[in-house]
Symmetry: C2
Subunit: 628 residues, 2 copies
């Protein structure tokens, strides 16, 4: 097979590529990131690259204008190698992960008192064997555990093989680590104790667990001390799968390709492995003493992590293969931990209400609140839980990518360069921008979009229908996609082009917020209650504190309630995973939460479509719902 050198700029990395390979595949092989929202299907136009030298085989297709094409713009997922080439990956096609470094420093450090983790370490001071007491080593250990109220039902062969020498090296003073396996079903079954390690030392009482949040976009890991309950700052990074598509549907499609599932699995494993490495500086060798990894992810992420074919998740009637997960040795999946580290994955409720939400509800304590509470995770796949200690209902709504800056002309993730805050002065028709990182703006993120739309609506620049009011502002102009508002001209921007918000962008946002709002409306009315009955609204997920509550109410994303009923919970999935790592009781509770939640498939629920249509205004057709 003939190969050619392909050089990627600005990294200046050259990779030998075969004729016929796509540029995206070549970049993937070289671990060079190019965005691919649609998973390489050629339909999102997010993977633009510039051909600087040489040649690739391509045609303009649907997403490129002839003008762009003539300037050398190509789609990485469609362009095929047919000779040597030098390709430039522009900023908008590259993910920015600097955000993660900053975020992990900003986090506050918690300590949980009296942890009761699924793995327990116990220091044993054993009577050495004698002619009067020549029980086997293992019987001696078991008897000593029994005196402490502990027990072992089984033992890892690897632990057993080290046992005789560890006992004798340490003069029969050893630390035994026992994993108490909690059953998937039959919660009344007592945990099944399994010795997973012997250690000669009895002096150091630190041992660790890991909490992991596997998000579609980003992955977060947090080290916790199971002995003391101390919680370390988390570390995060983009999920390496993002090169294969930005949303779960593109990942599921990609998993159906040859070796697709294996590749996706390896990508997320690689991501976690890189994050694990980051703790080595502060906690050298911590992995030898790490026995547990509690992982929360949405249903698709959980399938991809353990390597389970996810295709039925997206096929009607949306039946996921699994919603509970076996105990797996994390090293078996390729995670760079010791063989004694057991991985527990949070149970899911349904195809689109996953373990991340179960973990979130656990973190929010929803299952033990008396107030009627709405828990929401706003995103491409928005999840909603309504309930209290007595009952819970949940649903997922497919909001589309607008909240994450997708389907928006100048949309981008909440990374440096994103316009996040926006103030409009109606009196002099001027605006002020706030940009993440304080740099020149290069686009607008989801929370920025909400703020812009709310301000322009209040300022009379946008109508209830989401259209620009004629002559309302000098920034409004007619563009290629109809009317648009100029946020930042090219000369003030990083990306060398005007940053605008178009009527199509606003339509997408209205669709997204309407999907969420009609979702909670459906759930709450299905139990015979009204929006006003909500005593508490907990906002989880990527938005976090960057979501301006008042603006979100203004556009009709959040219900019209006093602002003091709202609270933020941050990365509740990671917090839930942290609690489960520290506490077997919490892990059991996660299963109770799963069992308690009644899932609604909104698309099959009578009334949802009507409510959705009624929501396609700012803030809503029924203005009374918003006190107007």
């Amino acid at each position: 097979m003939e190969t050619f050198p392909i050089t990627f700029l600005p990294d200046n990395v050259t990779i030998e590529a075969e004729v016929g390979e796509t540029v995206q595949d070549v970049a993937n092989r070289g671990k060079i990131h190019i965005n691919a929202s649609c998973g390489g299907e050629g339909v999102c136009g997010r993977c633009v690259i510039e051909l600087r030298e040489g040649t690739v085989q391509a045609n303009p297709g649907l997403y490129l204008s002839d003008d762009d094409f003539s300037k050398g713009i190509r789609l990485a997922c469609r362009a095929k190698i047919d000779g040597p080439a030098t390709l430039f990956i522009p900023l908008e096609s590259r993910a920015d992960s600097s955000f993660f470094k900053k975020a992990s420093q900003a986090e506050e450090i918690l300590t949980v008192e009296n942890p009761d983790p699924m793995v327990r370490q116990s220091c044993l001071i054993l009577e050495p064997p004698s002619p009067d007491d020549n029980r086997s080593d293992l019987d001696r250990v078991s008897a000593s555990l029994a005196e402490l109220g502990l027990y072992d039902n089984d033992i890892d062969l690897s632990a057993m093989r080290t046992m005789p020498s560890v006992l004798r090296e340490s003069d029969f003073k050893v630390t035994v680590s026992i994993f108490y396996e909690l059953p998937l079903h039959k919660p009344e079954t007592p945990p099944f104790g399994r010795i997973v390690a012997f250690d000669a030392s009895t002096s150091d009482d630190n041992y660790y667990g890991l909490a992991v949040d596997v998000g579609t976009t980003s992955v977060w890991v947090r080290l916790v001390n199971l002995a003391t309950g101390e919680v370390m700052p988390s570390v995060g990074d983009l999920n390496g799968q993002i090169s294969f598509g930005e949303d779960v549907i593109s990942r599921i499609v990609y998993a159906g390709r040859k070796d697709g599932l294996k590749r996706l699995q390896m990508r997320v494993i690689d991501t976690i492995n890189r994050l694990l490495e980051r703790y080595e500086d502060s906690f050298p060798g911590y992995r030898k003493k790490t026995f547990l990894m509690a992982v929360a992810g949405n249903t698709t992420m959980s399938h991809l992590l353990v390597g389970l074919e996810p295709k039925n998740i997206r096929l009607s009637p949306y039946v996921p293969p699994a919603s509970t997960w076996p105990s797996v040795r994390a090293s078996f999946l390729g995670l760079n931990v010791e063989p004694h580290t057991v991985m527990k994955v949070f149970p899911s409720v349904s195809s689109y209400v996953g373990g991340d939400i179960v973990a979130g509800v656990l973190a929010a304590g929803l299952f033990r609140r008396q107030e009627l509470t709405l828990f929401i995770d706003v995103g491409t796949n928005g999840e909603i839980v309504i309930g209290n200690e007595d009952w819970m209902t949940c649903a997922a709504c497919s909001a589309g990518p607008a909240f994450e800056g997708g389907g928006v002309r100048c949309g981008m993730r909440a990374a440096p360069g994103a316009i996040e805050s926006f103030l409009y002065e109606p009196e002099n028709k001027r605006h002020h921008l706030g940009v993440i990182g304080g740099v020149s703006p290069s686009g607008i993120c989801g929370s920025g979009l909400i703020n812009v739309v709310a301000e322009l609506f209040r300022g009379g620049v946008l109508s209830k229908q989401g259209k620009f009011v004629e002559n309302s502002s000098p920034q409004v102009r007619e563009g290629t996609d109809g009317f648009e508002y100029l946020l930042s001209p090219a000369e003030a921007s990083a990306g060398d082009h005007d940053i605008v918000i178009t009527e199509i962008d606003i339509e997408n946002l209205i669709r997204a917020k309407g999907a969420m709002f009609s979702g909670y409306q459906t759930l709450i009315e299905s139990v015979g209650l009204e929006m006003g009955d909500l005593e508490k609204v907990i906002i989880a997920g990527g938005f976090g504190r960057s979501l301006n509550i008042e603006n979100a109410i203004t556009i009709g994303l959040l219900p019209f309630l006093p602002v003091d009923r709202f609270s933020y919970i941050g990365n509740s999935s990671l917090t839930g995973a942290t609690l489960a790592a520290l506490s077997g009781t919490m892990w059991r509770t996660a299963f109770e939460v799963k069992e308690k939640m009644t899932n609604f498939e909104l698309s099959d629920t009578p009334g949802y479509m009507d409510r959705y249509i009624a929501s396609q205004f700012i803030p809503h057709t029924d203005a009374a719902l918003f006190g107007l």
Copy 2:
């Protein structure tokens, strides 16, 4: 490194060997069997070979006469490669395994009704998913199991990965295999159910287990049908470890060498794998449907099988690393079965009362007998159990190899060519021989030795002290080791030399029988009873029916009791393993048996040495014990 071709006759196999390797090591590499009773320590002289051409580096040492040495006789464990050579392995250095083929045909076929194995298969006819019922595949399966009174606490990842496609291929009619893990300790803990396989077929209700008896000398495997309880004929072969030494002590010594443990483990795994292959003709593909392997072996064999360093077994105070064993996937150890096959190893009582005896006691039903019963397994390591449903005591006694033909000038195993039966006519001072396989005799086996000594004692040829009575028989003559009795002259024998029994052979036999007898005497007196109180004697082990009870009483090996109190149980270790494969209840009972047995270390028990010394006569110093 320089290498030379070494050819082994009579197989005519040539192996390239490095300078300095021992002939034994070269033969091992080529899987050519040469006996090595001492494990290659150069002290048993059992591995003689003849140098036919070329050269090896060696000196006569302790075991070879100068005459033999000059004829080219060498010890394989001492001779080192220093050039090309052709070596002949004589009959006496080769093990004969033809016995095993015959034995497996002779066995009777049992059927156990209503098996309750640790693994259960269940055919599920599931309602396919629909919009009204979109539970995950696994939740659907679990709910259906619960309706049948079954349950799953966990699932193998490999089973989970096949689940979605198996369910859909089979139209949601599947067979689920669940392994119910019984805990090592805390028997009141309910079994932990783990789904290990999904199968699309629901029509065939056969699934299998394997019972394995790993003996120091031989290995037996038996296939059982877990659905019907049918028990197939067993297959057996020499334990491949035998090239590294004939008794457990030599194996433990060998395990301490570099890679010794690994090699021993691989040898027994190879042996079992060859035996597994033998069922393929009658049960093609049976391994796909085999879920359980119940293994009984003595304490050392169990350690070597799972790869656990056994050295402390032979060091005072004789503490074995383990006496219970984890559940292991048999394939993980290299056994040629599917990953879903779980291996359970019988618990041991002590370093020298192993899982084979626990299995034997299970097979003999000792734990539920009302009669006071003596259970004995006569061998190099003789095991004794005395008790009934209320109590059990046990001990091991180091009888030495005489019962297996070891330490006996013309001794051999009970294989074709071994003199087994013997009749002496005192009136005309002639004898008649019975030889296994009806061929020319080549040696004498353990049961033959007992018969010869008993007959010669009764015939007045041997004294109470085990010495030949002067002029008592024309066959008595003075040989190189003192007086001896000529059983078969060279011209009538296969091995080209006279077959004799010497006074030293008889001393070895008296030591061996005395060790056993004083063993039961000690146990029974320790509980305040007498030999005459024994209501039942069950004889297990290699001897089987070839042991002549009256002769064994005559020489003082068995206690002086009416013959109708004795019975044979054959390979009770394999029978016990078979019961455990078929029945989880039996497996639990094995643990009760282990817990119930009080172990005596005879060497530490007051009175044992005195009783042993008193036993060093035919039949005993205290003739009254034998009704004389």
